[in-house]
Subunit: 194 residues, 4 copies
């Protein structure tokens, strides 16, 4: 079983295994043994692709942030009207967040004092940035009325933590629908419409 695979795929295998296991058991509780066993490779191979366990976490963080921001950006961009952009943002965010919130928590909070998650550029998380762009553009277009688009974007983004099933108490399909409606109302009201 010493088959040589393309480096790209090996790396992807390890990322996938890490993602799955970190999600299931948390970063600290997942050993390198777990990861390499799940990826079907030897322990030594891991160190050919990552210098340490922490490197894998970092790579997954990067992957996560890019994916999430791209999803909500595309969903909002597909709508021509401003209120619809907000609703689409919420809906897309709900889907992604629901699926991956746990991964987010697990990836970004496993080490204390190291989660400067979005310390780059304007200091905004990629997702908050997308929402900010929408709010600012809508305000400039005269469609929205919001005093502080930047921090309102941050607050609304934070409110999406509530999409985490562990966060709010209720479950079931109709509960999802209620949550989306409540969030859409919140976002629209935050934008000063309705």
């Amino acid at each position: 079983m010493t088959r040589t695979r393309p480096a790209e795929e090996r790396r992807a295998d390890l990322l996938a295994a890490g993602r799955e296991l970190f999600l299931a058991k948390g970063v600290a509780a997942t050993s390198l043994d777990d990861i390499t066993r799940a990826a079907g490779v030897s322990k030594g191979l891991f160190y050919l692709y990552f210098r340490a366990k922490e490197d894998l976490v970092l790579a997954l963080q990067d992957q996560f942030s890019r994916e999430f921001a791209e999803r909500v950006r595309v969903a909002a961009a597909a709508e021509p009207d401003w209120p619809d952009k907000l609703d689409a943002f919420v809906l897309a965010g709900f889907g992604y967040y629901r699926d991956l919130h746990d991964l987010h928590e697990v990836l970004f909070h496993h080490v204390h004092h190291v989660h400067h998650e979005h310390a780059e550029q304007s200091g905004l998380s990629p997702v908050a940035q997308v929402l900010h762009d929408i709010l600012a553009a809508g305000k400039a277009a005269g469609a929205f009325d919001v005093a502080d688009p930047e921090l309102t974007a941050v607050l609304c983004y934070a409110s999406m933590h509530a999409f985490d099933p562990d966060f709010h108490g209720t479950t079931g399909p109709q509960s999802n629908a209620r949550l989306i409606l409540a969030a859409q109302q919140l976002f629209r009201r935050a934008a000063g419409i309705e």
Copy 2:
């Protein structure tokens, strides 16, 4: 130094030592040796008060949630007018969240699968419950206009994650003021006033 102290105080000593150390170094990086040394007791004594290290974490989680909810409840109750209740809630929450967010992170995210943080009772976190009570009461009194007080409370509570200095990009006193104002506007709009 085999002094017998009241059990209550022993327990409090250990809780205090754990709180301090978990905050400073994270749960995983804090050993029982650290905790018992800081509390000035032997390692064996720890197991007379807690069944495992995890028990201490659970006890601190409980302590944390109760304190936080009580603070915002009292702050809101002190205001007679409904909009002021919301503003007071936000202000008190901001102060508490800012101070203790690190502790929260450290306590609730150190191990996955354990942060069913508020899975008891109605499923609502104590803090979200307080906000829900305000929204529902205000709605019943005809002061608020909100479609889904429960989930709106959950969403607004979640938006307080943005109080985490690591979460939003900006810092400084005037940034704090902006954040509070933006949150108060959001909460009021969520309640259908303004």
Copy 3:
């Protein structure tokens, strides 16, 4: 088998186990597992007495140097006449060196560039120092004729490396006698007598 033993004895057990194993297999080839198994203790206990494997090596180095120097000093001091002092020094050194030369090699040369074995005080090894004291005193007493007692002591001490059975080719009891005689002749001639 969780018997509590006096710390002194535990430490001595570990030192003895390390000495034996290092001698038998070398420092690098001896694992902590080997050491603790030989000492009949758990791996964890080792770290209650030494901070790392290297600490054990250092402790053994110290033990070794003190013992060796003391032996030859006492042997030489027991003889009143100067030539006899030299012979006694050689004889005692032969016995000790024979037994422990391997240990010496293993302890002092296992790490490159760290063996500043006798960098203290006058820069002389304790053993060379003893020989130097004899040569210098004998010279002062008019019994010896040696131009450079210090470096001659160092050279003679170094010549004792030949006591290592691996160093010279021959073996057997009569070979030992020959080696001692040759060394005693060398030392006396070095001292300018005979």
Copy 4:
């Protein structure tokens, strides 16, 4: 870069790389990766020329001993008079020993039980053999007076360990001169002259 080079050169490259790295970092701390990278070849190729890492060490030990013995032999042979032969032997030995002592240590002491350094032939190290030849020939010629030329050669050779800068305490050019003089006096006296 799959250039086929003459086997001799490949082998020499690997020996050179090993010599350099072992000297710089010690045998244990030098990985095969280091060696093959330094030699500019693949890891697999190494095993075409040596059966194991240990083989490389053995080959270097051999190289070392032959070189050293040849140097002192030539130096002594160039002198017609017997006392001068001894002095020349010491001088050449000093130079070589000083330069390469570190390499010697690193090669011969990295693993215990392998340094039967000169267990072949007559059991004498090549260097001790050269000195023995000088002493025996000088004795036969009536120039030297020494009871046991063989073991005296071994002892004198061993005394050259003192040429190791780490062995004796003092340093500096005048210290070197003193050491050489002391050694020459010792050798001449060992040979029964002066």
